[in-house]
């Protein structure tokens, strides 16, 4: 009998530990919180700052200032427009989504592409446009393979690397059916695998390819480009399922930014910060032309 009681007591204790987890209690607040924010007055955003030029760390700064890139600029814009203080919570890509689901953060802006699965489990914002980062999806390979892999036919039988659960992985499956797909966890690991010879070419967004090549002179673009539909070429913001008020507000602001033409500016600034040469063209006398 005593044993039974002890068992029950222990089970109840363990259960109570997990029970608190699921039931997200709405924190009692004094101020009205019609946007359903996690912390009233603050906009908390999870990002995975290892994805230059979309989001990365500027080592010359510290604290909240150190997170830079296109998505961070966008987060800043949303927070400012809503009159909230922006709090960036950095974590790895997988944890970014869990954080939204668990209600640890209000939203995640971390270069998410729209997928069926995400739409089922999260509120997705309308698209936002990060220059050519998503509209152009390319393949990169080791220097010395120039001109070898320009068509889908020339890639038949080869191994192609793509990031897990990414747009690139989908593109490879659909558009390069004759290749073998190798999945990697994050871009840098993928790059190491490419150098190691684990696969012949690697699928990345064009902006990332530029950032990679800027620091890795032994990597080149193959010249192959994926066909990207309008549904795939843009990013969305992840919000908690059911938080429609905030989603609507965010969509309003995204439309406003699009109309004002902010996106191009932000993207150019992010690219410059990432150390990717701003594209310079030359006139017939060999002088650089701005733009």
């Amino acid at each position: 009998m005593k044993k039974l009681m002890t068992m029950i007591l222990a089970i109840v204790m363990v259960m109570s530990l997990f029970a608190g987890c699921g039931a997200k209690t709405d924190a009692p607040t004094d101020a009205p919180n019609e946007l359903g924010l996690v912390t009233p007055g603050k906009l908390t955003v999870s990002i995975s700052p290892d994805f230059s030029p979309m989001e990365f760390v500027d080592p010359s700064k510290s604290g909240q200032e150190q997170y830079v890139g296109f998505d961070v600029t966008l987060a800043n814009y949303i927070a400012t427009e809503l009159g909230l203080e922006l709090v960036i919570m950095p974590m790895d890509f997988g944890a970014c989504q869990t954080a939204v689901e668990m209600g640890t953060v209000d939203m995640s802006i971390s270069g998410f592409s729209k997928t069926e699965e995400r739409a089922q489990n999260y509120n997705l914002s309308d698209f936002y446009y990060a220059g050519d980062n998503e509209t152009e999806q390319v393949l990169i390979t080791m220097a010395g393979n120039e001109g070898k892999y320009t068509t889908a036919e020339s890639l038949a039988g080869l191994k192609v690397g793509a990031q897990a659960a990414s747009l690139q992985a989908n593109l490879c499956t659909n558009q390069l059916p004759d290749t073998e797909l190798v999945i990697f966890a994050d871009l840098t690991t993928g790059l190491m695998q490419l150098k190691n010879g684990d696969f012949d070419v690697m699928a990345v967004a064009d902006g990332n390819a530029d950032a990679i090549i800027a620091n890795n002179p032994d990597i080149i673009k193959t010249g192959f480009k994926f066909t990207v539909t309008s549904d795939e070429e843009n990013n969305v913001i992840l919000l908690k399922k059911g938080n429609d008020t905030l989603t609507a507000k965010v969509n309003e602001l995204l439309a406003k930014a699009y109309d004002a033409g902010y996106y191009g500016e932000w993207y150019a600034a992010a690219k410059e910060l990432a150390g990717i040469g701003v594209e310079v063209s030359y006139d017939e006398n060999g002088n650089p032309i701005e733009g």
């Binding site: 363990v14 290892d50 994805f51 230059s52 080592p59 510290s62 950095p90 640890t104 840098t188 620091n215």
Partner: protein, 248 residues
């Protein structure tokens, strides 16, 4: 992979990012380790005491605690502490860094409690029996007879626990908490030079753990050859010779 290129890249990275690795990374790793080990040792001692208590309910709960913590991966515990606890305990306004430090400390407490318990139980039972039959109370027996001997078993293992935790803090990089592995994440994200960053971080980790484990080894030796132990042997020798009837 060209190794000459790697060397050049490492120099380039260190020139731009040495602060991220050597100041931010090292200090955060050490702070996290110190919090986890010191609080873990205190909590672990409490757990060990409870585990040896007379009350079955208490013993059962503590055993369940130790088994659950030791039976699940530390990364999973970090996720749970990071995502669930701040919501369960909203009145505790702790930073993400502190939540992860607490997770580390809870994890280490389970291991430390086992180290302490096994250290105490490794002391020969005859010692307790002899002390009790000489009229010492159970508290006195513990304090004056068992613990001084148990410390010898416990301290080196605790030192090793410190080294272990130092390496395990690398998991905090999942939440970009500024430890050494976070430095790696940050710099590789900005430069896309993954292998070079890994080498740098690996060397720094080794520079931290190697002197530590040497220090632990040194203390272990000191404990083994400590005076009472030597005297005990000399004494035994003398008795043996006396028993043989020889002269000293």
């Amino acid at each position: 992979m060209e190794f000459a290129q790697i060397g050049a890249n490492i120099i380039k990275i260190m020139k731009d990012y040495w602060k991220v690795f050597l100041i931010e990374g090292v200090s955060n790793t050490l702070i996290l380790t110190c919090i986890a080990v010191s609080l873990g040792a205190i909590l672990g001692t409490l757990v060990a005491i409870m585990k040896m208590s007379r009350f079955r309910v208490l013993r059962f709960i503590v055993t369940a605690y130790v088994e659950i913590i030791r039976g699940t991966p530390i990364l999973l515990q970090l996720y749970i502490f990071y995502f669930c606890l701040p919501q369960m305990l909203p009145f505790l306004k702790l930073s993400a860094f502190m939540w992860v430090a607490i997770a580390m400390c809870v994890n280490s407490s389970a291991y430390v409690s086992e180290v302490i318990r096994s250290g105490i139980q490794a002391v020969d039972k005859g010692q307790t029996e002899a002390a009790r039959s000489l009229g010492l109370s159970s508290g006195q027996t513990m304090r004056k007879v068992v613990l001084p001997q148990a410390i010898k078993n416990i301290l080196p293992a605790l030192g090793n626990e410190f080294v272990m935790i130092l390496k395990e803090t690398s998991l905090a990089s999942t939440f970009f908490l500024g430890d050494l592995m976070t430095s790696y994440q940050k710099v590789k994200g900005a430069t896309f030079l993954g292998f070079e960053c890994l080498l740098i971080v690996g060397i720094i980790y080794f520079c931290l753990t190697f002197p530590l484990s040497k220090l632990v080894g040194y203390f272990e030796k000191r404990m083994r050859s400590d005076k009472s132990y030597k005297n005990h042997h000399k004494h035994a020798e003398r008795e043996r010779k006396l028993a043989e009837g020889g002269k000293l």
